[in-house]
């Protein structure tokens, strides 16, 4: 039989552990479930990059949904937070591509999916940019960030296409 004070101590300990864990996670753009999924796909470039595409797409969709919701009051702040989260995930996608290139992995197939996603993200971000340009007061808070995300995706599309071409060329030479 556990006394009431014992339960309180346990509860306090659990809260302390949770807050410590949260403090350690505060700078991470991914949630624990996403982290687990990545861990399971640690050695598989195709699977890992596919996951990053899903994570980035989820963030972009959530941004669009939030902006379409008339009940949202702090739209500028939420737009900013979600754009930052999207940019963090996109940077990690690129970082993973670099790592797999260093390991000389064959990325031809996953890169095609990445480029397809890049094009989709580009179109959605450009649409967002056009729509927010009409509301300068609100967009002041996140305009720079939105430009950064667009720059990152624009640069990403070029880099990914170039890398795909290089890998396809290399594969052709290998076959000969």
């Amino acid at each position: 039989m556990i006394s009431t004070s014992g339960k309180l101590v346990r509860l306090a300990l659990a809260m302390l552990l949770l807050s410590t864990a949260w403090a350690q996670r505060r700078g991470d753009p991914l949630n624990p479930l996403e982290e687990d999924q990545l861990r399971d796909a640690a050695q598989d470039p195709a699977e890992r990059l596919k996951l990053y595409i899903v994570f980035a797409r989820t963030r972009l969709t959530s941004l669009e949904q939030m902006r379409a919701d008339p009940k949202v009051t702090d739209r500028a702040q939420q737009t900013r937070d979600r754009l930052q989260n999207l940019l963090d995930v996109y940077d990690e996608l690129n970082d993973n591509i670099d790592t797999f290139v260093e390991r000389k992995a064959d990325l031809r197939k996953p890169l095609k999916a990445v480029i397809e996603a890049d094009t989709e993200f580009q179109a959605k971000l450009r649409a967002l940019k056009s729509s927010v340009d009409a509301n300068k007061d609100e967009s002041k808070q996140y305009d720079f960030l939105l430009t950064n995300v667009l720059d990152a995706v624009d640069g990403g599309v070029q880099d990914h296409r170039q890398l795909l071409n290089q890998q396809e060329e290399a594969a052709k030479h290998k076959k000969k």
């Binding site: 350690q24 991470d28 640690a42 940077d91 990690e92 720079f144």
Partner: protein, 144 residues
């Protein structure tokens, strides 16, 4: 004559490229220490990036203590890059982008580690994010 100048220019460029490629970390650090303040952001960032790559390799090799020392260097040289960028008012945007990418790499490294080894890496990523935010404030005139 023109052809000679061109050949000379190509040779100089090639030798500069070769020396840049083979420059050791110690040589790079020595160059950074002697550099003008406006050249320091790029040099310090390069040192930080090299140490970040080294940290990744050391963690993979199971050399945790050495890896943690390399992570400390990442933060130290990022701080130097930040200070030099603010002092000189140059390369603020490039430095900010480099910090963003290094923070992403640190988070990725962190996820591959045991829970006990994650804290210093997350702290380093947080520190880079905070330096980055500060650079942004300066870029928009709030930090002046």
């Amino acid at each position: 004559m023109r052809l000679r100048i061109r050949i000379f220019a190509v040779l100089v460029a090639a030798s500069l490229l070769a020396s840049a490629k083979t420059e050791t970390l110690q040589e790079l650090i020595a160059r950074e220490e002697a550099a003008k303040v406006e050249d320091r952001p790029a040099l310090c960032t390069e040192i930080a990036e090299r140490q970040l790559k080294a940290a990744d390799e050391l963690y993979t090799a199971g050399k945790v203590e050495e890896a943690q020392a390399a992570v400390k260097d990442v933060v130290t040289y990022s701080e130097k890059a930040h200070d030099a960028a603010i002092q000189s008012g140059k390369k603020l945007k490039n430095t900010e982008i480099d910090f963003r990418k290094m923070a992403a790499k640190l988070r990725d490294i962190k996820r591959s580690l045991n829970f006990d080894d994650q804290t210093p890496v997350q702290e380093a990523a947080d520190r880079l994010e905070s330096l980055r935010t500060d650079l942004l404030s300066h870029m928009f005139g709030k930090g002046k």
